[in-house]
Subunit: 359 residues, 2 copies
């Protein structure tokens, strides 16, 4: 991107585009002879060779070896994606499939993301990724207790990220209705909207006193439960589907290369890092070494985040070799993620702001 692409002649653009298109669909290096027959203009192979040499000097093409044709470089793909690529026209069948999915509203977000990713993988024939963000719970906003039968009750906690968590508390002994009510009151008084750091030993013993003898023994396990809820996987979850599809591409027939990528997919943190530092509300395209994970040198990562307000709550995308059908993949990721985003936005309208509804 630190590149200045403007000074490309029309003819060079045509040639570059033809090379990339041919390489994307065929996977082989593209030679001058092939191009003489597959260009909208008719020029000789020698001219094409000269142009290709210049495009190579500019860093847009590469040669695997002297007697081979040319292959797009990462910069070449980048240029293609930024300024050459034609928009992909989705077929009715594809749109139908996508719509069928996004119609089923009542699912939970992570289910939607996962099935969207699955569909995306099927359509593009690459590996799909689904990221479910986890807006970290910082505090509990409300406690409720619910008797569940002999010897146990349910502790319901509403969290600051508008979720609900429950925990079954097994107390071997009997707890009276009175005690349970007092317990609920005490929890709401002492632990609501409270930072974990502030829960000191003296606070705990104060709670134990306040709740009375009968239920005092329950305070400790409950505090532990609160701790668990707040600290649970704040990193979010990243899932991949269809990793086996990668193996059909010749760029991964070298087991060493594939192993590197598979390692990154297994470890997850590198990719998680990329996803969580990406731009919101637009398609992110990381081509080859653009994503700093060096083991993904010849892989491309394409995704778009799903936001709620200004929080990133998820992302879906695709991972595959640099030689990727960019226009189709980008169109698919875009369409699908936009639809999910819209669902989110619509859902949001209902409970909160009727003001916007009225406008």
């Amino acid at each position: 991107m630190s590149f200045e692409f403007k000074d490309l002649s029309e003819r060079k653009k045509l040639i570059l585009q033809a090379i990339i298109d041919a390489h994307i669909s065929g996977g082989e290096p593209v030679g001058s002879k092939y191009l003489t027959q597959n260009l909208p203009i008719s020029i000789s192979s020698a001219t094409i060779r000269n142009e290709m040499a210049e495009l190579e000097d500019m860093g847009l093409l590469e040669q695997p070896h002297t007697s081979a044709g040319r292959v797009p470089s990462e910069y070449g793909y980048r240029f293609y994606v930024n300024s050459l690529m034609k928009g992909y026209e989705m077929t009715m069948k594809e749109i139908d499939e996508l719509n069928r999915l996004t119609k089923s509203k009542q699912e939970k977000l992570d289910h939607i993301l996962e099935s969207a990713a699955k569909l995306m993988g099927n359509m593009t024939n690459y590996t799909s990724l689904a990221f479910k963000g986890n807006t970290p719970t910082t505090v509990i906003t409300q406690f409720k207790t619910m008797r569940m039968g002999a010897g146990k009750f349910l502790l319901v906690m509403m969290t600051s990220d508008e979720n609900v968590q429950t925990k079954v508390i097994n107390h071997g002994f009997e707890v009276s209705d009175d005690s349970l009510e007092r317990l609920e009151a005490v929890l709401n008084k002492y632990l609501c909207n409270v930072d974990l750091e502030q829960v000191t030993l003296s606070l705990i013993s104060e709670m134990e006193r306040a709740v009375g003898v009968e239920a005092a023994a329950l305070i400790n396990p409950i505090v532990k439960g609160v701790y668990d809820v707040i600290n649970q996987n704040a990193a979010g979850e990243l899932k991949f589907q269809g990793v086996d599809r990668l193996l059909q591409y010749p760029e991964f027939s070298d087991i060493g290369r594939f192993r590197g990528l598979l390692g990154a997919i297994e470890k997850k943190d590198d990719i998680l890092d990329i996803v969580s530092h990406s731009k919101k509300d637009e398609i992110n395209v990381y081509i080859g070494s653009e994503n700093s994970v060096d083991v993904m040198n010849n892989s491309t990562l394409i995704f778009r985040t799903i936001t709620q307000g200004d929080k990133v709550v998820g992302a879906i995308g695709v991972i595959g070799p640099c030689r990727m059908d960019y226009s189709k993949v980008i169109a698919t990721v875009d369409y699908l993620s936009r639809n999910i985003q819209q669902m989110m936005d619509n859902d949001k309208l209902l409970p909160d702001k009727e003001s916007e509804d009225k406008k």
Copy 2:
């Protein structure tokens, strides 16, 4: 197993064992010359060759080609596992690691299974699998409602498999405390312990009448929610960790073979099928084509289920090439799964049966 192994002479056993041990650690076919120097008895290479030829006739050994040494067949491995293998002595370090994990009791079962599987993968250097069974919810045993602030309430459902599920119900309009109480009563009256098949349209309208005008509109979304809870992923969840580790074994340097296995891992249903039809409370070892998935011809699957009462609630295990360090893997899977099982059993004791405690 349909094999009769008894008629193996002591010497044949020694030779077979030596071949398998050598092959497991080295990965190469084992020849007669090597064995002359690595057997507790001293016999000539010619004798060994004769014995090996017989072992091959019996189906315990195989020859990649005429001028190569011998390699254990799947039956060979099976015999090894059933009657030859020496128990693996875990090192203190390994036991420590395992214990550290199983000490942290308060985790949820799926977390425990996953981290156990992860540890197991690290220790054995194969791919680990963790299966979290899902005893299907057949009915809801109790409903509770809980007001959650403006315009929404929480529906808490206790299910027949002793779990708790919640669902936030957004009602745009106001619902009085009275209506909410009536709603709860109606739900408990009409939907508790009721098979989904019995929920007919006329039942629904009866409920709508019973609950009163104000909350009638809520019945439908709630019934939908119940439906979702009951039908949710009854199949259980199967997760793999460290798939990339497989690539370090030469048997998967052929990309075609690996692709097959990876496909099975991705699709999951075949392996899920094997796991869910396995024997309870013992180590299951599926060597090569013993697991009917033909793409796993040269892979071995080792796991043990975790049960609660007589229900299978989970499983952990390992997947790798047939040439596997069986004694170590089996020991590890066994130790770890037994500990988790014990945790489960102990947990169970607390709330339910003090009778057993007294004994």
